[in-house]
Amino acid sequence: MKETLTLLPAILLTTWLGCGGNQEATEPANTGVNGENAEKTKGIIAYTPQTLSNPFFSVIGDHIRAEAEKNGYEILIVDPDYDVKKQSDQIDDFIAKNVTAIVLVPCDRLSVGPAVKAANKAGIPVFTVDAKCAAEGAEIAGHVGTDNFQGGELAGKAMIDALGGKGGKVLILDLKRAHSCVLRVDGFKKVINAHNKEAVGKIEIVSELDGNGDRTKGYQSTADALQAHEDLDAIFAINDPSALGAYTAVKEAKREAKIKIIGFDGQLDGKQAIKDGKIYADPIQHPDKMGKQIVQLVVKYQAGESFEPETLIPATLYTKAEADQDPELK
């Protein structure tokens, strides 16, 4: 009795495996597709971002859904919650489901490689949004991202503007493990360095600390920097959550009148903070365009049309002037 019970799942499992094979083999094939017996959908586009708890990725997801449905595709969205193991498992599930295309924001640019290669092997095209996959031999059919370097340059220009030509001391809150954020800082520094060569009011980057891209760490790092630098004039944070964390620390130190903050992303609470005067300006990304354009790449790929494999959408600067006009904000 005991043995039978223990073996039961194994027996059933093998029966199923057997069934799966047989079913495929014995099923008669038949007439095919013509215009009239058109299928309901053209297939499934599967999307796995880094997380859906960051509104940036869910906005991309919403626009992927809208554009996919407009083009007759079904959409499947899952959330790996920053875990590359989960994401790889999800890609394996997509392959088993035999989806038409996979849209991916890699949780890790290297570790996701083997899963992408498995999709390549199964013949399923993989597209990346926002972040790229850098694993060797992993084939990416198309990419849509933000021009982060150019966005960083915009942040640099906004910084010069914010300091009103007088220059000053600046803190950078970075996130070194995200390549996109490194590019933002690089673009920022390029503009600041060029400015310092000519201008009288020089801008000095006094500290670069890890903001971890979130409020908690952004707050902690800024609080520490405020202790170390009594004369800090401005902060550049590589995204909105860390910029808002920085604001909390600045406000706590009652130095919000002097210290200007520049963020990045243009998430809703970031935009609201710009309207409220907490953040000076944001180079904003356009997740709506990203979601839409990645689906357009999938559609072009499926139609066998040629397309540019990499599209970088320029960031635009969002200041109080734009925020005051924004119907989304209170």
Partner: protein
């Protein structure tokens, strides 16, 4: 006596029924039209085309690239050619390749033999292309007939489920033993990351950073596993020598191992420069079963024998049931505890190696919160946190239940936060069943 045994068995393995029920439910909700891709399906499709098209019809074979697709196309081509039809071209590739091939047709094309994906392409593009190329004016596309079959019960998917639970299930063996002794080990998730980093670093060191040989890989794996076993031994030592609660000791080890993994790897994943390293995590050599699954089943077999047929197995139950009674009856309680924590650390190290193999990278971020999944698998598998009770195969079933739910929700696209709610409910139900079971046994 016999009846009583059966009743006990049902309560011991009642979760098998839960698993089966889940499988049935998920099969029903993932029922979908499937397009067969076997060679037999290709032969059938060819027969239909031969029956439907004229004797000297021009045929183009269009199949999306991928594993097994070349075979499908070749079978189509051979069968059609044998029947005397004129196969103008065979394309196994991307939609772009298909478009190019359609543009190259010099004679009027009668039939396109295709698979599910290229059929979707033909459906949409053929009418447009026909306007441009007159050779396509009277072309019909044929694809294999679809049949209903649950996505869940597809062979690849079932293997995926087994593969995906393998790391958690293997560590859960050690965790089951720890929990049977009324302990807990919170450090296993961090040990996964630590082991992966140590393995990747050792391989890099041994091979001087380039082209590691298989020997280097094996030594690296051994390093990762042994280091974690030693850490487990240290945990066991602290628990027994200083009598600190396992919860606290392993919480400390969890933070230490996690931190060290980030320090040693300098916070960046360490790639391993040999694709062969993926053998354990992604390879499948034995009758199509993934290697990680074979390893998992093997370890469960061994663990089952240890727990049911050896004195150490009996000691483990005895220590969990009543440590004082066990000590008085001559059980080396302290050694038993050191043994289970060492084994748990060792298996976590192995899990780390498997994880690293899956991604060909030693990643300090891996293993986050895996300890909770492992504990969940053990608890859902019917092992009591109070100690003294539990079955190794129960844990495997517990891991399967969690894996099947996860897979089912991914296949049907259940939103992530909802998935979390469902896991929570499953764990609570499992614990409630556990309590009811205990109560029933007491009244017996």
């Amino acid at each position: 006596m016999k009846n009583l045994d059966n009743g006990k068995l049902l309560s011991d393995y009642g979760n098998v029924l839960v698993l089966l029920l889940l499988c049935v439910v998920i099969s029903v909700v993932t029922l979908e039209e499937q397009s067969p891709r076997s060679t037999a399906a290709a032969e059938n499709l060819a027969a239909i085309i031969v029956g439907g098209a004229g004797k000297d019809a021009n045929i183009l074979i269009l199949v999306r690239r991928g594993e097994g697709q070349q075979e499908f196309a070749n079978t189509l081509k051979n069968t059609l050619s044998k029947a005397g039809l004129n196969v103008t071209d065979t394309v196994v590739g991307t939609p772009a390749d298909a478009r190019a091939a359609l543009g190259k047709q010099t004679e009027a094309l009668d039939v396109i033999a295709t698979d599910e994906h290229m059929a979707a392409f033909c459906l949409e593009q053929l009418p447009k292309l026909a306007k441009k190329y007159p050779t396509l004016a009277n072309t019909t596309a044929y694809q294999p007939k679809k049949h209903l079959w649950p996505n869940f019960l597809k062979k690849e998917n079932l293997l995926n489920v087994l593969k995906q639970i393998s790391v958690v299930a293997i560590i859960a063996i050690g965790m089951t033993m720890v929990i049977i002794t009324a302990g807990i080990d919170l450090s296993v998730g961090s040990l996964i990351a630590f082991s992966g980093v140590i393995t990747a670093l050792s391989i890099q060191q041994l091979s001087g950073g380039a082209d590691p040989t298989t020997g280097h890989l094996l030594l690296g794996c051994a390093a990762g596993i042994i280091v974690c076993a030693l850490i487990g031994m240290g945990t066991g030592g602290l628990v027994t020598l200083f009598n600190i609660p396992a919860f606290i000791v392993t919480l400390g080890v969890m933070f230490i191992a996690k931190g060290l993994a980030f320090i040693f790897s300098q916070s960046a994943p360490i790639p391993i420069a040999n694709e062969g390293f993926a053998w354990l995590g992604r390879g499948s050599d034995l009758i199509g079963l993934p290697n990680s699954v074979v390893l998992m089943l093997l370890l469960y077999g061994i663990a089952h024998v240890i727990m049911t047929h050896t004195s150490i197995g009996r000691y483990i139950y005895a220590v969990g049931g009543n440590p004082e009674a066990a000590r008085l009856s001559g059980v080396p309680v302290k050694w038993v505890l050191v043994f289970v924590y060492t084994l748990c650390g060792l298996l976590a190290g192995l899990g780390g190696v498997m994880e690293a193999s899956l991604h060909i990278t030693g990643d300090p971020k891996s293993g986050t919160l895996v300890e909770l999944q492992v504990i969940a698998a053990v608890v859902v598998g019917g092992t009591s946190l109070a100690g003294g009770q539990g079955k190794i195969f129960g844990t495997l079933v517990g891991a399967l239940i969690i894996g099947v739910i996860r897979n089912g929700m991914n296949l049907t696209g259940v939103e992530a936060h909802m998935q979390s709610v469902v896991y929570g409910v499953v764990i609570l139900i499992a614990v409630m069943v556990d309590q009811l079971k205990n109560r029933a046994q007491k009244t017996n």
